[in-house]
Amino acid sequence: MSSEGAAGQYQVLEELGSGSFGVVYKAIERSTGEIVAIKHIDLESSEDDIQEIQQEISVLSTCASPYVTQYKASFLRGHKLWIVMEYLGGGSCLDLLKPGCFNEAHIAIICRELLLGLEYLHQEGKIHRDIKAANVLLSTTGKVKLADFGVAAQLTNIKSQRNTFVGTPFWMAPEVIQQAGYDFKADIWSLGITAMEMINGEPPNASVHPMKVLFLIPKAPAPKLEGSQYSKDFKDFVSQCLVKDCDRRPSAKDLLRHRFIRSAGKVEALQELVERKQEWDGVRTRPSHPKFYEETLNNMMPKSDSDEWVFDTVKASTIASRKNTTKRRKLSVIHANGQGLNSGAEEAFKRLDLKDAPLEYSSPPPMSGTVKRHTIRKQPSIMKLATPTKTRQVSSSQKKPLQPDMSFGNSGSTVRLFRRVSDNSTTAQVSSDVSAPGSTRDENRPPMTETVTKDALYGRRIFNKMVDPSFQEIHAQTGNQAKREALSRLADAWSALNEVDPEGEFQFVKALMEKVQSDPKLSVILSPTKASSRDGTPQASPQKPGSKLVLAQNNPHLKSHRRRQTSLMPEAEKISNLPGQTIPGMEHTKQLTDVLYGRWAGGLRTRWPAV
């Protein structure tokens, strides 16, 4: 296909950086000799709907501004998507901050350029939604450009608002967190935070846990610069960006007339920052040689050793015709392997007979490759929380509660580690919804060997899916030191129980649930079904977590937004029909049964009472 030819137009050079979204390479466009940056996204390792990536491309490709990184092309090469972008040799502002903070003069120039970029975007009906130093790139000549449109939004109506919870917590505007509808002004807030990040080396509240920051930002007064070391103009500029009431917050256009911005110098002055970084890099011993691009050979074999399916029409394969040769070669090998194959199958049979419970792990999960497969595009920097109405269709690994990374506040880097979170992370899962999307933690757990009974498995599951994540969440949201300690003692104790007696753990939770259910008041309060919280009935929830967000969900404003959103996003309704998505409660299997086999459903329900 033509895409193969498209890739040939570029000579790919060394790696510029990598993230879970993929790897960025420097490359030369052969026809022009121009240096470009190419982002390779491995679509195989992403369960994101490809549409999301396409959304990023469509926002980028409709931008033409000197203040926005220029999109050039995108094409497929096998299962990798190549996105060709303008190359900016200066690096990101976050990189440039490594040798030290910026001075006000530099910041004024950067802010002016960013405002020009935002003015352009906003006029185009686009919201960037993730403005921060890491997403601001500099050319070697000092030009400043906005980058990374991974979560940008395109509005069809310049007056319309969004409500999706997206961005990086420290930089997020209060109205975004409150999900009460926001518009372009959200970017202005993030710009103010970015200005503070550039002068201080980190955003305000950097030492606070990101989950907690989400509660802090709407509640606390806006951050501000204090002290005589900052000029009056700069302080005023930041305070204008950080007006909490978005209606009173100035637009990009307004801010371009601010004194701090009007007195800013020329972009060439920013070369100092680039040079400073180069010197700084020079002093430090280079940790590694540049990594050069290597074409990965696609030598994945069909994993089973058995041969093709037998279709009585005997045309061996309709689909795999283009790899005929390898297939034929394999035919001759099969005889030699036949023996081993059969015995392997037999053994597998035995295993299956032994442990037929649906939740049983019939074999230890292989570790190789799992981590990669479960990496989430953009995971390090972006936190994305689907609005409650929008059942996001994400992989199981994405649909898990925020993983509080306790080491996080102490790390020097401003790149924050986040997992995407889904709406169910805002409420601790107290319900018996055992099949709710789980945490990643079990991924790295050794395969369970000693647990044999079903109850024990349920016990483990309860711990991994409900107890542990809930502890972590509550812990993250508890401010008081004494309370935190008490909580972690309980968590430790529980974890010990889980180690020693998962069966007992299961029995305990079961008993607990039964008691809860037999108490009419408690059962109402403690098992808020998704449906009831969705239609806005206020839940007198005793749980602390997510109080802010839960409140916001009941906000009457939200209803119209939701409606708008569902009309904007027609996927929402049909998502439940999608096959194979981990939706709590196996809704989609339910649908299958509804359609196909009502009788069988009865059996299924007794087998998996959790459904």
Binding site: E44, I57, E124, P365, T370, P570, M586, H588, T589, V595
Partner: protein, 378 residues
């Protein structure tokens, strides 16, 4: 009014459509480039009238005058046809203009009434929709046309026009009145071009076309169920051979997923039973399980399971499954085994294994035949 726009428009709102029409007619001429620039300015002015700015509200009377003017001048059609000829910014402006115009209701009209321009196009100028689809012929016009289309497709009538478009001899679209739900399509209508746009286009065009295609096939359930039942053979022939067997990873993966989605939609029950009745469909699907790319295997699994779970498997399907029973059992046991966290998948895989293991050794005549079979065997 004009002072509201910050600068004085050189033309009266009422005259803008006429002016645009004239400029479009000269795009092909010797001064095409200059005309394109002038047109871009006109369109930008129209955009301001329609959407106002962040500071200034649009004036409904002005908008009304503009919308009716565009209808009179047949400007929507002209813009749709010439979208790819417009300069970069003007294409985006045209997209905005389309969105506003097709959404506009006079302030006095009921909020439930059909927007006037949309209603006009549906009843009098269905070619506008067809030409918007043809925007996928060009890389330049694909995104703006696609964006407009997806908004338009919220209207069931608009979706029906696109699905049932089948050019008459004089080349015109038959429009709404010409639609005969029970008549099979010739395959020459604009809907059938989507298969090639998706598979042959560049990544941007293909991906956008697919998004619109999916919207067409999932938004209006009963319309689509009827359509797929009537055009079952033609549709799935193209779907399987062009999309599912596509060389493009994205096309392949997305179309398998959409296939599962279509089959599992309640509204498409008849289509599903007919689909899983066919042995050759099962073969395609089983080959997907053996694809070398895991996500293709995974999406294929979700179609495969429908065949296996069907309690009324046809003889052909039973034969294939029985012939491969042992292979399938050992294959499934190790199928995507690193998906240890996806419990739903694990459960379903276990279920399939059981179903296959418990099949009677010889094919059994199913107690129920697919509902569709009678109508399509003709």
């Amino acid at each position: 009014m004009s002072f509201l726009f910050g600068r004085r428009p050189r033309t009266n709102t009422v005259d803008l459509p006429k002016q645009a029409k004239e400029q479009i007619s000269k795009l092909e001429g010797p001064a095409g480039a200059a005309k394109a620039e002038e047109l871009a300015k006109t369109l930008s002015q129209m955009k301001f009238v329609l959407q106002g700015t962040q500071e200034v509200e649009a004036q409904p009377e002005q908008v009304y005058a503009l919308v009716t003017g565009m209808i009179t001048e047949d400007l929507l059609y002209l813009l749709a046809v010439n979208l790819q000829r417009l300069p970069f910014e003007a294409r985006k402006d045209a997209q905005v203009i389309f969105s506003y115009v097709l959404r506009f209701r006079p302030p006095t009209a009921s909020p439930k009434s059909e927007p006037i321009a949309l209603s006009w196009v549906i009843n009098n100028r269905p070619e506008v929709f067809v030409e918007l689809c043809n925007g996928y012929d060009h890389k330049e016009s694909a995104t703006p046309a696609g964006t407009v289309l997806r908004e338009v497709l919220k209207s069931e009538q608009a979706a029906a026009i696109i699905l049932y478009d089948d050019p008459t001899e004089n080349g015109n679209s038959k429009g709404l009145t010409g639609i005969q739900l029970e008549t099979r399509q010739s395959g020459k209508g604009v809907f059938w071009k989507f298969f090639n746009w998706i598979d042959q286009g560049s990544f941007e065009v293909g991906a956008d076309a697919f998004t619109t295609f999916r919207e067409l096939l999932t938004r209006h359930k009963s319309l689509v169920a009827q359509y797929l039942s009537t055009n079952f053979d033609l549709f799935f022939d193209k779907y399987n051979n062009i999309l599912v067997k596509s060389e493009s990873y994205v096309t392949k993966r997305q179309s398998i997923k959409l296939l599962g989605e279509i089959l599992l939609d309640r509204a498409n029950y008849a289509v599903m039973t007919a689909y899983v009745d066919r042995g050759e469909h099962l073969k395609i699907c089983m080959n997907l399980l053996r694809d070398e790319r895991k996500m293709v295997q995974y999406e294929g699994f979700h179609v495969f399971k429908v065949f296996v779970a069907n309690p009324h498997k046809s003889i052909a399907v039973q034969k294939i499954l029985l012939n491969n029973r042992e292979r399938l059992l050992s294959f499934l046991k190790q199928f995507l085994e690193d998906r240890t966290e996806d419990e739903q998948f694990i459960d379903e895989r276990e279920f399939l294994i059981k179903q296959i293991r418990n099949m009677p050794p010889q094919p059994v005549e199913p107690s129920q035949k697919p509902a569709l079979l009678g109508s399509q065997a003709r």
